[in-house]
Symmetry: C2
Subunit: 244 residues, 2 copies
DNA sequence: CTTGACTCTAACGCAGCGTGAGGCTGCAGG
DNA sequence: CCTGCAGCCTCACGCTGCGTTAGAGTCAAG
C-alpha cells in the first residue's frame, strides 16, 4: 500500500500541484493521510477518485457538479449527464448564431471596400439590432431574398434609398400634401423599395416597423429616417391608389 | 444638448447601472461630465459609444478587446473580427466534440441496463481515455466499425474477452510456454478479437498499444489486462504460424 | 420637513485555478 | 556538521464582468 505525495500525483495525472491543493481545499479530493511534516499523501482510492474527477470535468461539469455526482449515486450522475447535454446543446446553438453573424461580417469585409471605421461599426450595429427585432426564421428569409436579388440589385437599392429619402424629406419640409400628385411618385418608389426588403412578408414588415419605432435614434443615424419622416411617408403611401 | 444620468441611460439601453459604473471604472466609457453632486452625466457621444460597446460585446469580445477596437482604428477592428471568428470556430469545434461524447453516453444510458455507478463511471472514463490516445479520425473509424458489426456482435465480443483473458492469465501463471500448442488457441482468439476492434488499421493498433502502456493502471482495472499479461499475450501471438 | 426615488463610493463574491511570498523538510555532497 | 537544492507547506492576491449589499448623500414632490 503505497502513498504518493502531491508532486508524484501531479506527474502521474498531469494536473498541477496547485490544482490538487485546490481540490483538497474545496473538499473535492482529500488526501488519504498527512506525513509527519504535513505532506499530503494520496492512496489508490484517491487516485481512482481523481480519475473520475478528471473525466467528469472533461465533460464540462463544474467542480460542484462533479462532487455531487461522485458523492451521490449513479441516478444523480445520469441525470446530471442529461442536463449537461441539454446545456451544451443550447450554448452550441448560441455560438452558432454568433458565428453566423461574424461570418457574414467577415464576408462583407472581404468583399467590400468598407474599411472605414464608422461604416464598419454601423454594419455591426445594424446586424446587432436586426438580431434583436427579427426572429431567426425571418432573418433566414431575408437572407434568402438577398441572395435571390443578387449583389448588383442590392447595390442599386442602396443607392436608390438616399435619393428617395432626400426627396421625401424635402417634400415634408415644404409642407406638401402627402396625398398630392408630386409626392405620389416618391411614395411609390418608397413603397416598392420597402417591399423589396420585406418580400411582402407581413411579419417582417411588422418587425421592421417595431424596430424603427424602438430604435429611432440609431436607425435615424444610419438611414436618415426619423419618426416624423416615417409618419409622413406612411401617410403618403396610405394615400396611394389601391395596389401599384 | 441634453445630458442623462446613469438611471436614464440604463433604461434606454437595458444595461444595469452597475454595468455603467463598471465601464466608467475601467475606462471603457467615461461620462461626459459630473453634476455638482457627483452624478455621472452622459451626452450623445457617450450614447453612441455605448451602442458600439454593446454591439462589439454581443459579438463575444472582451471589454479589453472592445476598448482596443474602439480606440484604435478600423483596421485593428477588422483584424480583431477575424481573430474572433477563428477563436469562435475553434471553441465550437471543441464543444461539438464534447457534445458527441455526451450524446454517445446518453445513448448508452438510454439503451442499456447500465445504471450502476461504477459501470457508468468506467464508461465515461473509457471515452475520456480514448479521446486522449486516438485521433478524431480514428475514433470515427472505430465508431463506423462498431456500427458495421452491430450491437449483437459487440455484445458477444464483450462476453468473449473475459474468458480469453482468464485463460491467458491462467496459462501465464502456470508458466506455460507462450509458443506451446495449448496456448495457441487462446492466442488466436485474442488476436482475432483485437482485429475485430482495430479492423486491421495499423494506426489504431499503435494507439491502442500506447494507451495500454501509458494507462496501465486504468486499463488493467477495466479489462483485467496488466502489462505482464500483455507481454505474454504478445509473445504468444508472435509465435503464431504466419497469418491466421 | 419628510418621503421616496435616485445617486454616490467602497467592497465582497463568483469559478477555477495561476502565481508568487515566505518558510519548513528531506536527502545528497563536502 | 553544514550547505544546497528540490519539494512541500500555508496564505493570499489576481483574473472576467459584473451582481449585490451597505452606508450615505441628493433631488423633486407633497
Amino acid at each position: 500500500m503505497k502513498l504518493l505525495t502531491v508532486g508524484e500525483v501531479s506527474r502521474r495525472t498531469g494536473l498541477t500541484v496547485r490544482t490538487l491543493h485546490h481540490y483538497d481545499a474545496c473538499g473535492l479530493l482529500r488526501p488519504a493521510a498527512r506525513s509527519g511534516a504535513g505532506y499530503r499523501l494520496y492512496g489508490e482510492a484517491e487516485l481512482r477518485r481523481l480519475q473520475h474527477i478528471v473525466s467528469l470535468k472533461a465533460l464540462g461539469f463544474t467542480l460542484d457538479a462533479v462532487r455531487a455526482g461522485l458523492d451521490a449515486g449513479a441516478p444523480t450522475l445520469a441525470e446530471a449527464l442529461l442536463q449537461q447535454v441539454a446545456r451544451l446543446r443550447e450554448t452550441i446553438a448560441c455560438q452558432h448564431a454568433l458565428l453566423a453573424r461574424l461570418e457574414q461580417l467577415e464576408q462583407q469585409l472581404a468583399a467590400g471596400e468598407v474599411i472605414d471605421g464608422d461604416t464598419l461599426l454601423s454594419t455591426i450595429e445594424a446586424s446587432t439590432i436586426m438580431e434583436k427585432y427579427f426572429t431567426t426564421e425571418q432573418l433566414e428569409t431575408i437572407k434568402q431574398r438577398g441572395e435571390m436579388l443578387g449583389t448588383e440589385r442590392i447595390h442599386e437599392v442602396e443607392l436608390a434609398w438616399p435619393q428617395v429619402i432626400a426627396g421625401m424629406t424635402a417634400a415634408m419640409q415644404l409642407n406638401k400634401d402627402p396625398a398630392s400628385e408630386e409626392v405620389r411618385l416618391l411614395a411609390q418608389k418608397w413603397h416598392s423599395l420597402v417591399r423589396e426588403f420585406t418580400g411582402g412578408d407581413a411579419g417582417i414588415q411588422h418587425s421592421l416597423n417595431t424596430m424603427f419605432k424602438q430604435e429611432a435614434g440609431t436607425t435615424q443615424q444610419q438611414t436618415g429616417i426619423d419618426p416624423a419622416l416615417m409618419a409622413y411617408a406612411c401617410r403618403a403611401i396610405a394615400a396611394l391608389p389601391a395596389q401599384a
